[in-house]
Symmetry: C2
DNA sequence: AAGTACGTAAAGTTTTTTCTGAACGCCAAA
DNA sequence: TTTGGCGTTCAGAAAAAACTTTACGTACTT
């Protein structure tokens, strides 16, 4: 009688799945999609959209969009199955790379976006300082703004180099995958 | 006539503020709160809740909750102003520490939460393997789940050490604040 | 060429989140 | 003790997001 054991296995899986899903907002992912990820994680075989909908009791449309977001983050991959009509998906098990891809994608683009705006504003403000007829009070405020922006740019430069070290995997020299123990 | 210059300054500030706010979802922060942060950033003086509401055209209640979330992330601090009835707030300008605090707070707790669930499930599954009357098929699946969890635990161990290196500032030895240039 | 099965887009509904206004409790000054 | 100003809590309204159903386009099968 395996029913009891089956039960235990399922419970153990569900505990982990729910934990993962609950923290998926860090990835900018909805909890449902997190549950989808977890389900795929413990499924040894690649799943179809219909199977996912079945497993989660949700519409196929939701599975479709969920899988897409997971694929954009490279957390899930589409699998080639010869002779199969339906698409099959499975999780990408490299969690390190996963983290790196996610971090890169989100933080890098945010950094670039902010740096762009900052540089443009910085330029304008520096030009403004050149203006002769600028009241002392205003000049003071412009200076302050410039300092704030320069301060931010310095940080983003660091952040960018940090992300570089992730993407090149150089970070693993500093924080190795396996501890020295 | 400073009006024109004032205009330029304001535009330059707003560009940066909006950029920052737009990417604040990375911090799990709503855009409105992001705008609040940006406003505080370019205000040379500490602001009161009323001044913030004024500046953003929003209710004082919103400012109160917004400031609280920013304080929880240590992005904003309450300032002691002698003889002032109202509370005053100003931004924490150390963006490096800011990033570290945020990352630590969110990712560390997520990691701990997941590790906890994983270890518990792992234990159960290992115990299950001891059971004599376990069908080969089920045993196989239990093994797979165990591997998945061990794989995750290994990653979280690395992540934990990465966060350690942030908190201790050792990361700056590897990725220095200022480039060597 | 027609039919069928599949994934996705669009529209609509439900749920969740965000924001506001009123009411409350607290502290300081009178 | 009262009064007034302050930050916050709470309930409700408005806005946004998530989810489902329906409908569509495409590709494979027959």
């Amino acid at each position: 009688m395996d029913a009891k054991h089956e039960e235990i296995l399922q419970r153990a899986q569900e505990r982990v799945i729910e934990a993962l899903a609950k923290n998926m907002d860090l990835y900018g992912i909805t909890m449902s999609t997190g549950l989808l990820y977890g389900t795929l994680l413990f499924q040894d075989k690649p799943m179809t959209l219909d199977e996912m909908g079945e497993a989660l009791g949700m519409s196929k449309t939701s599975m479709s969009t969920g899988v897409r977001t997971l694929m954009e983050l490279k957390m899930v991959e589409k699998i080639w199955k010869k002779g199969a009509r339906k698409d099959h998906y499975e999780v990408n098990l490299d969690w390190y790379q996963n983290f790196i891809d996610l971090f890169s994608l989100r933080w890098r683009s945010a950094a670039e976006y902010n740096v762009h705006a900052m540089k443009k504003s910085l330029q304008e403000l520096r030009a403004l300082l050149q203006s002769e007829e600028l009241s002392d009070e205003l000049r003071e405020r412009v200076q302050t703004s410039i300092h704030r922006i320069e301060n931010g740019l310095e940080y983003y430069d660091w952040l960018s180099r940090l992300i570089d070290s992730f993407e090149t995997h150089e970070i693993f020299q500093f924080v190795p995958k396996k501890p020295m123990s």
